[in-house]
Structure formats: structure tokens, C-alpha cells
Symmetry: C2
């Protein structure tokens, strides 16, 4: 088993009038993403004080799982559904998990 | 049950020669933090390409749990242990969880 997971943080800034549609599409995508065998976390949170800003915390078992996620129908549906709702391009950062241990995510 | 959790992201920049000591102190604090009844997540990850940068993703059941964490002996021990290892002050942002549902974190 790998000793760390691939953790991806995605910062999303949504147009004010797109927040409700974004949340609906994102809840659907997150639920389906958690069914992927290589996905350990798919957490989405909305910034306190600015409901147009979200962060996704996605944890994958390995790099292949990151690539596999991008090939899923639910990811592509989400990507297309939210394309017109973005206030600016999404930004992502990649990390390696430190703790908890890889089998505890 | 609350419909969302309080999610705190903490960005940490460590001095290069402090990384190993920081990881040791942080693993201990994270394990003990997960034993707190109000803590649902205490994930720590290290940035790909820059091992001196870390992000903590802490999810709490409510604001009282955030405050309770700061009062624990393990938090205070960690805070004091890492004080001299910081390259710059820590920065935090607060979010409300969107998904998964609050009882799934």
C-alpha cells in the first residue's frame, strides 16, 4: 500500500447568481466520485463570509486514480454544467498526505 | 444535528531544517485531535514540489469544538513545539461543509 495519498485542493470562485446551481451539480459529482475505488475523500466546503468561494479537497489512492476520475461521466457532466458558472478559472494544488496514515483516509 | 461542519484550512510554511521535527510533532497532535469528540477530520498534507509547505484540513462539529481544540494539552504542546520551526506566521481560512452530508465526515 502506498504510504501517502495524492491530495488535490481545488479553489473555485463562482458567479453570485450561479451558487445554487453550482452546489446542486457539485453535490451530485461528489457523491458519485466517492464511489470511485481510487477516491478516499471528496470534501467540498464554502468559505465563511464569501458564499461564492469553495474549496474541494480530493484524496486519491494514487496518480492513476486522479487520471481515472477525469475520465468519468460524472466528472465530465459536472465540468460542463459548471463551466458557465465560474467567475474565474479554477486553481489547484497537489499535496502528499502526511496524516492520518494512508489506510485511515 | 447541524447541517454543516466548521472546516478550517491552515497553511503552514516551515523552515527547511525544521520539516522533520514539524512532521513528528504534527503526527502526534493530529492523532490526539482525532480523539476529540468534536473533531471529524484532522488531515495534514505536504505540498508536492515544496516539502516546507503544509496544509491542515480540520473539520469540527461546531464552533464550540473549534474552541475546545485550542484548550487541549496536545494542541498547546504542538503549538509550542513548532513555534520555532515556522518560516512565517500560519494563515487560516474558515469554511462551512457542503458535502458530504454532515454525518458522513
Amino acid at each position: 500500500m502506498p504510504t501517502s495519498l495524492v491530495v488535490v485542493h481545488v479553489e473555485v470562485h463562482v458567479k453570485p447568481d450561479g451558487v445554487d446551481a453550482f452546489v446542486r451539480a457539485t453535490r451530485e459529482n461528489a457523491a458519485r466520485s466517492l464511489e470511485e475505488p481510487g477516491v478516499a475523500r471528496f470534501d467540498v466546503a464554502q468559505e465563511a463570509g464569501d458564499p461564492t468561494r469553495f474549496v474541494f479537497v480530493e484524496a486519491y489512492r494514487d496518480a492513476a486514480a486522479v487520471a481515472a476520475h477525469k475520465e468519468t461521466a460524472h466528472y465530465r457532466t459536472w465540468r460542463d454544467a459548471v463551466a458557465g458558472l465560474m467567475a474565474e478559472p479554477r486553481r489547484s494544488r497537489t499535496f502528499a498526505s502526511v496524516c492520518p496514515d494512508a489506510d485511515r483516509w
